[in-house]
């Protein structure tokens, strides 16, 4: 029997705080019950309190941008809808706006009725996305009654979307040069009726949120993001508006129907408590506003065609298209080269802009509050990944070699000579 090795350790003297390790590192994710999508947060904790948080992205890179270069503009509209499962329509609006701006160099203009229909669908999408978030947030704080009730009311909006587009999630209603479907009188009447019910229900939920202790005690004072910090870290969307910043692309840089007379009744909603409670209130009030915009757009829907056939080739241009997704500012950068396919498409989603704010919000909170703080920006981690990172076994240093084409060929020949039985 081998003798036990005796290792001498300099044990800390009892009661000496200076010798004890002060902080501990706790990894949150990539696979974690609190997260719906893979994402890694390294939390540095001191007891129960989070001192520092480091996010790491790049787990769900799907290569959508490269795939977009191989497809035509019409096909790409169905592809970019798959970037995000919930805010799918706004991606397609962003790309179609960029394409039509490039086509505008040759004098092409989409019909006005189509722009109104696009705006209606995007506002309906905002309603269902915000109610979905509200339900998820209620579930995170352990208030499942509200989760069930709010999701039941969300079904009204989902039914409308299914009725007008033919699908519950990926609507595919946009086309370069207009929309693919028109609204009938029956559908308009149904939408007006359902919007009235949604406004009534949402006013009730706002009342509940402002008065109910279950929500107030669990959300007030946690996940604080000061306006100055939000501005410094470039927060967008409801996260920025909940910190009191008046940022909204629909108002600052209007597109589609927002550039018309809708701008006069447009109301940018802000709230000033800077915490998770503030984000709840901003989103709830935004749903009520969105319902009002849908009703206004339906009342002022112009007549005319919904589709004009565009030219097949898109002239050479660099276009930056900004839209307001339910989660914040969405950017599509299009580089066309006088063919029917884009040369380059770059997508920046709102979660990427907000991810640094989350790291800031987590500081100073308890570990138990980290789930609702994470959920408070309405994260969509799968949408944001545009890059993949390579990290070695020691998890610290990334080893990346730059190879020329000849070196790469030589390497591949050597590799295949070594692994002869390799099959795809």
């Amino acid at each position: 029997m081998a003798e036990k090795k005796i290792v001498k350790v300099d044990a800390p003297k009892t009661g000496c705080v200076a010798c004890m390790p002060r902080t501990m590192e706790i990894p949150l994710g990539p696979q974690h019950p609190a997260l719906k999508e893979p994402e890694h947060f390294l939390l540095e904790v001191e007891g129960e309190v989070i001192v520092n948080a480091t996010p790491r992205i790049g787990y769900v890179h799907r290569g959508i941008e490269k795939l977009a270069e191989t497809k035509t503009y019409s096909q790409n509209l169905t592809l970019v809808e798959r970037v995000c499962g919930i805010c799918s329509h706004i991606h397609s609006i962003s790309l179609v706006n960029a394409t039509e701006t490039a086509l505008g160099l040759e004098g092409f203009k989409p019909p006005e009725r189509a722009e109104y229909i696009r705006t209606i669908v995007s506002e309906l999408e905002r309603i269902h996305s915000h109610i979905l978030w509200f339900g998820v947030a209620a579930h995170e704080i352990g208030f499942d009654t509200l989760f069930m009730l709010s999701w039941r009311d969300r079904e009204l909006t989902m039914d409308i979307l299914e009725d007008i587009s033919g699908n519950r999630v990926n609507y595919a209603i946009n086309e370069v040069g207009g929309t693919r479907r028109d609204l009938s009188e029956k559908q308009i009447a149904r939408m007006n009726k359902y919007m009235d019910i949604t406004i009534k229900r949402l006013k009730r939920y706002t009342e509940i949120c402002l008065k109910e202790d279950t929500i107030r005690l669990r959300t007030q004072g946690i996940g604080v993001l000061l306006p100055s910090t939000a501005k410094k870290l470039c927060a967008v969307g409801p996260t920025a508006r909940a910190s009191g910043l008046k940022i909204d692309i629909r108002y600052d840089d209007p597109y589609n129907a927002y550039a018309g007379p809708l701008r006069d009744i447009f109301n940018v909603i802000t709230y000033d408590t800077n915490d998770v409670f503030s984000r709840v209130v901003v989103r709830l009030l935004e749903i009520i506003e969105a319902c009002k915009y849908v009703k206004w757009l339906l009342a002022n829907l112009p007549d005319g065609p919904v589709f004009i056939k565009p030219p097949r080739k898109v002239p050479e241009a660099h276009v930056l298209s900004r839209t307001e997704a339910p989660r914040g500012e969405l950017i599509h950068y299009l580089w066309s080269n006088n063919t029917n396919k884009p040369y380059r498409l770059k997508i920046t989603t709102p979660t990427l802009a907000n991810i640094l704010s989350v790291a800031e919000m987590l500081k100073g909170d308890y570990i138990a509050d980290s789930t609702i703080t994470l959920a408070s920006i309405d994260p969509c981690f799968s949408c944001e990944d545009r890059i993949i990172t390579i990290i070695n076994k020691d998890r610290r240093k990334a080893k990346v070699d730059n190879l020329t084409m000849d070196q790469l060929r030589k390497y591949s020949r050597e590799w295949h000579a070594k692994n002869k039985r390799w099959k795809k």
Binding site: Q75, D163, N167, D213, T214
Partner: protein, 134 residues
């Protein structure tokens, strides 16, 4: 002034409601719109000319052209529903109304091969008989 338990009355009212918010789906029929739903394809071989417009329009490239004896150009489409995203672009591309989407949405199958529809060519006489029976 905050009040506790505002939602209790709401929850109680729902508990004694007779009308359910959900449907026992496989046993009861699901709710779907009367028209405009995008489900499985329906293909009419007699109308098809094999112009390949549907193949070119398809974003995920799930339509494959195979040799045919009936059509004008000697080609006809075969659709892989496992790869289809149900966008309906093939339906709009078809000038002869040979291919369109139906409201049939229950598409589960036991294997990937079963997801490929219209893989065998039926003669016009057989398909007419099938239509009469249906």
């Amino acid at each position: 002034m905050p009040r506790p338990g505002v939602i209790i009355c709401e929850a109680l009212r729902n508990a004694f409601k007779k009308k359910k918010a959900t449907i026992d789906y496989p046993f009861q029929e699901g709710v779907k719109p009367k028209k405009g739903l995008r489900g499985a394809h329906y293909f009419i071989l007699e109308k098809c000319t094999g112009c390949r417009a549907c193949e070119r329009a398809c974003p995920p490239m799930c339509i494959e052209m195979v040799p045919s004896e009936v059509t004008k150009t000697g080609k006809r489409p075969v659709i892989n529903l496992g790869e289809c995203i149900f966008c309906g672009l093939c339906e709009e591309a078809c000038r002869y109304d040979a291919l369109f989407l139906t409201d049939y949405i229950e598409l589960s199958a036991f294997g990937r091969d079963e997801m490929i529809i219209y893989s065998k060519e039926t003669k016009p006489s057989e398909s007419k008989e099938q239509q009469e029976e249906g």
